[in-house]
């Protein structure tokens, strides 16, 4: 190797490179490189709650709409009780949603009918193992294969009865990612939880347990959610009738094939102001994607909507948030959906004063002893009477391809009381997003630059002198909102070597 000192110009450089500014670039701010070769300042954009688009399938439903996100196909699958043949069949179709529009494929009628006027696709879940959508109508399981915009109904995969021989409704569905099985709660006086595995053509039943085994009246109405914090499933259910407090049990899936179910002894769940409405959709749960709190939404005294978070260990509850009362007269039909981009949840419910409409808001701020923040309550829908039906766990789902929530409702005022369009909506929960990614940070702007003008950027390995009040010797980081601070949550830029100068590290 030749002597580098002979090759290098005398003196040092600052890795200062010229780019065209996209938008005004303030002095001393971190910038990202865009795909068109321009640079823009790091920053966040806030988006408010709202309904951005809707459409309806070309058939009519009697409600009971369910929606799930098909991860492999990147689409929403919607199913509903259809008016065809006396409402004894279900129909399903694929919804393709992007950020602001909806299209859908052909709707396909189920190959197996239900009882007269009683095919209610009770609940749906996407099974990542088989890449099928499982639909549970009462105690019978069906499968939906999806390819592109086409759905195909499978024959039913079997059924389950309660201990009296009576078919019972599957009311809670959850996926266990460790054992790749679906965990099902059935409505039953004693409670019943079962697991099933599905390959391309058959479904296997696992053991059944009855957490509520001593109850002889009422119904076991349960919601269940996978707790990624513990790898268990949190099941919350009523205490046997409408007037007892709900209980919780921590469900474990065991065995090499994941066919065994064990559970902790039911314990009362402390819901302040609990008014007794836990049955059907009067309570719902979801896990906050960031804090891991299991968020419970329920009707409190005077039917006020309430939300509270519980952090679970493998044996019980370890901490709670405060209870937040978020809306008046919201007694039923709570649905809560995780919205990962915001690190928060989106809640929907039926308003007692206007029972054929659905309201929604975004909830955030989950932490121990914290009071949950929520956004302004708004009408979910398009100004029409959109009914949020009671039995379904999943009227909505997060569509990662569109970064939105897609829900299925039916229009209460269209047609007669039974025949309503199967409507699909894109709902935008409130959140902030940043243009800063793990790979696009390019440097720090060296002077205020107008949009379209040439900016001189101190890139990786350079020196930026545009700062103020730095702490000498401290490391500085670009934050998602465009500030440069010592908070380690951002991307490291370099080290302060004076109050105004950052020695930028080489390109990571």
């Amino acid at each position: 190797m030749s002597n580098l000192s002979e090759l290098l110009p005398s003196g040092g450089g600052q890795n200062q490179v010229e780019f065209v500014a996209s938008g005004t670039l303030p002095n001393g701010k971190p910038v990202v490189l865009k795909s068109n070769g321009q640079v823009e300042v790091v920053g966040e954009t806030s988006v408010s709650d709202g309904t951005t688009a809707y459409g309806n399938f070309a058939t009519y439903s009697d409600g009971d709409n369910s929606t799930v996100y098909h991860e492999a196909e990147g689409c929403i699958v919607s199913c509903w009780k259809d008016q065809s043949n006396g409402f004894t069949y279900a129909k399903a179709g694929v919804v393709s949603a992007n950020s602001n529009s909806i299209s859908w494929g052909s709707t396909v009628q189920s190959t197996v009918s239900g009882n007269a006027n009683n095919f209610a696709p009770t609940s749906m879940i996407y099974d990542p193992s088989s890449k099928k959508v499982m639909i549970f109508k009462n105690n019978v399981a069906f499968g939906l294969s999806v390819s592109g915009t086409t759905v195909t109904w499978d024959n039913n995969y079997g059924y389950d009865y309660d201990d009296t021989g009576t078919p019972k409704t599957a009311i809670g569905l959850d996926y266990d990612p460790t054992h790749e099985v679906i965990v099902i709660t059935f409505a039953n006086q004693h409670g019943r939880i079962s697991v099933r595995t599905l390959d391309t053509s058959t479904m296997t039943f696992g053991t059944r347990v009855q957490p509520n085994g001593t109850v002889t009246s009422g119904n076991f109405v349960a919601k269940i959610v996978y707790d990624k914090n513990t790898g268990k499933h949190i099941c919350i259910f009523d205490g046997g009738n409408y007037n007892t407090r709900p209980k919780y049990s921590i469900i474990s899936i065991t065995g090499s094939s994941g066919s065994n179910v064990t559970f902790t002894s039911p314990a009362s769940l402390s819901l302040p102001n609990y008014s007794g409405y836990v049955a059907y959709a009067g309570l719902n749960i979801v896990q906050d994607p960031v804090s891991n709190f299991i968020m419970v939404m329920w009707a409190g005294s005077n039917d006020y909507g309430n939300v509270r978070g519980y952090l679970f260990s493998t044996t019980g509850i370890t901490s709670t948030t405060n209870t937040t009362v978020f809306a008046s007269y919201a007694s039923q039909n709570f649905n809560v959906i995780s919205f990962p981009p915001s690190g928060a949840i989106f809640g929907m419910w039926k308003l007692d004063a206007d029972p054929q409409s659905t309201r929604g808001a975004s909830f955030s701020g989950m932490a121990a002893n914290s009071t949950i923040a929520y956004t302004t309550v708004f009408n979910v829908g398009n100004g029409q009477k959109e009914r949020n039906h009671v039995q379904n766990n999943n009227i909505g789902a997060y569509a990662s391809n569109a970064n939105k929530i897609v829900i299925g409702l039916h229009n209460y005022e269209s047609g007669n009381s039974q025949i309503r369009p199967a409507n699909i909506y894109i709902v935008q929960p409130q959140y902030s997003h940043t243009n800063l990614t793990s790979t696009n940070l390019i440097g720090i702007n060296s002077a205020t630059t107008s949009s379209g003008a040439t900016a001189k950027i101190n890139t990786w390995g350079g020196i930026n002198e545009s700062q103020t009040s730095l702490t000498i010797g401290s490391d500085y980081y670009a934050q998602t909102n465009g500030t440069i601070t010592t908070a380690t949550g951002g991307q490291k830029l370099g080290q302060a070597i004076s109050a105004t100068t950052i020695n930028m590290r080489n390109q990571p």
């Binding site: 002597n3 580098l4 003196g11 040092g12 020196i463 000498i472 010797g473 490291k492 370099g494 990571p508």
Partner: protein, 119 residues
């Protein structure tokens, strides 16, 4: 500190930055950054604050240049190309990695070293 752009000649190359010396600093010695912005010789108590290598001898209280992390320090001698170098607690630079030595970079030639700054 004065405006660095006034101090730096045009062209690319090392990161030669002017600092005020705290104590007398010989040429080509590893130095640490103090919280007041001055630089001082490396010792066992400040080795983790390594900032660069002096470009010339600097009298105590005077201003002089050092090549800092992320730059290429030239004008050294007897380096082994491609060997990893560490600053020692006595301020020398060698291939000895025994604690409390701190890695500073790889030699590019017998006289130059790339002062790493990737983390």
């Amino acid at each position: 500190m004065s405006n660095l752009s006034e101090l730096l000649p045009a062209g690319a190359g090392g990161k030669n930055v002017k600092f005020v010396a705290s104590g007398t600093l010989p040429n080509a010695r590893a130095v640490a950054l103090k919280t007041n912005g001055q630089i001082e010789l490396i010792s066992s108590s400040n080795i983790t604050n390594f900032i660069g290598i002096t470009d010339a001898a600097i009298s105590s209280g005077a201003a002089g240049k050092a090549t800092i992390k992320g730059g290429i320090k030239t004008g050294l001698s007897s380096l082994t190309p491609n060997a990893v170098y560490y600053v020692q607690a006595n301020g020398t630079v060698s291939t000895v990695s025994t604690s409390p030595a701190v890695r500073i970079g790889k030699a590019l030639s017998e006289t130059s070293i790339n002062l790493e700054y990737n983390l």
